[in-house]
Symmetry: C2
């Protein structure tokens, strides 16, 4: 078995907190495909230079095909391993893409308000200058000024409205069983879960129930992922 | 032709501003189906009592089948008139439902912050007590205190992020051609378009370009809808 995924890690290499890598790990499990994950730090740009870009996830499939970008990897897996669809085709795939954009445009900003300093604390010291510079340029403020757990909780509560409404009819975004849309959204929640000891969601919240179900999938693959201790 | 849709109207019966009714009007046009719309006021509960509930849209199809709720009507149309799908089935339909919840949970609150007093001004005087009481109970504040165009614009800008990102790849949410997800989202924009003279979106915004394309569909069905004058 030579399928390999380059997977962002913390100073403790067991800490895997990239939302985008988690999408792919769950997508692979959904298809029953195994992959060796290779711990990768933000500044290990040389290690993935072969992919022609600088971000993970990078998937190197069995026959040395190289695929990047979490959504593109999921679409590629659907093409190469069509049994048990992830994103589907046509409108189904377009609508999954919308849910990806909701996860990145609504959930992620709220979660980063809550957890960006926890990420900073969890990453390898050698990555910290890179992380601070790249994020502070993107955010237009210092990490310490951006972090605001109370404002983040308020944003998260608003961002979760479509998810909570969706879960009134079925246990997963995609219906009775989890699908590509669930992985696209859930990956985002693995960042705060891994880098912070505090729970993000409260019991009784429909989003919490879904989060618990997602943690349980594939023999607790996500639930058993190492976390920082409290 | 005996297909009839009960359609919310203003004091001027030509003003049709219900997001939910617009979804159905566009969905019918998408399938090439004609329908007579019947002007209906908020307080005309008796006129739709036969539907077993109190809200529009209510569709009475050719053979006297009665269907309510915009999403359920769209799904029903897919079953009864399967040529040219709106929502599709399985995961495609589930993901369309998520986009419905985004439209109602993220777009609608922003738009109502901007336009609720314009709705109040546009509706029939006989509907105003009902509208004020039902909305003020739901919102927990007076209409005049809830309206806040500046805060609404800020919320709208944040809510539009997934839509703008989605439009980077294709002209419509559903891809190269508009589909059910586009109608679910676009209906929401017809409320401010009809009840306010000011444009909601600015030129140069990807959401504005999409909004223009949606207005043009079906020989300008939405563009030509009567509006309040400036």
């Amino acid at each position: 078995m030579t399928r390999t995924m380059f997977d962002l890690c913390g100073a403790d290499q067991r800490l895997r907190f990239s939302p985008f890598c988690w999408r792919v790990r769950l997508a692979l499990a959904h298809k029953g495909l195994e992959a060796e994950t290779r711990a990768w730090h933000f500044t290990d740009k040389q290690a993935i230079a072969f992919s022609g870009q600088q971000k993970v996830p990078v998937l190197v499939d069995e026959d040395d095909e190289v695929i990047v970008d979490s959504f593109d990897i999921m679409a590629w897996l659907d093409d190469k391993y069509p049994v048990v669809s992830l994103l589907g085709e046509g409108e189904a795939q377009r609508r999954a893409r919308f849910i990806k954009h909701w996860a990145e445009g609504a959930l992620a900003p709220a979660i980063m308000k809550i957890a960006i300093l926890d990420v900073f604390a969890a990453i390898d010291p050698k990555d910290r200058d890179y992380f601070r510079e790249s994020r502070e340029q993107r955010l237009g403020s210092r990490l310490e000024d951006f972090q605001d757990a109370q404002e983040g909780a308020r944003l998260l509560d608003a961002a979760l409205k479509p998810l909570r409404a969706q879960l009134e009819d079925a246990p997963f975004i995609d219906g009775e069983r989890p699908g590509g849309a669930d992985y696209l959204a859930f990956g985002m929640f693995m960042l705060p879960r891994v880098v912070r000891p505090q729970p993000l969601l409260e019991e009784g919240d429909a989003a919490h129930g879904w989060h618990e179900r997602m943690l349980d999938l594939f023999d607790g693959m996500a639930r058993n992922a190492p976390r920082v201790s409290g």
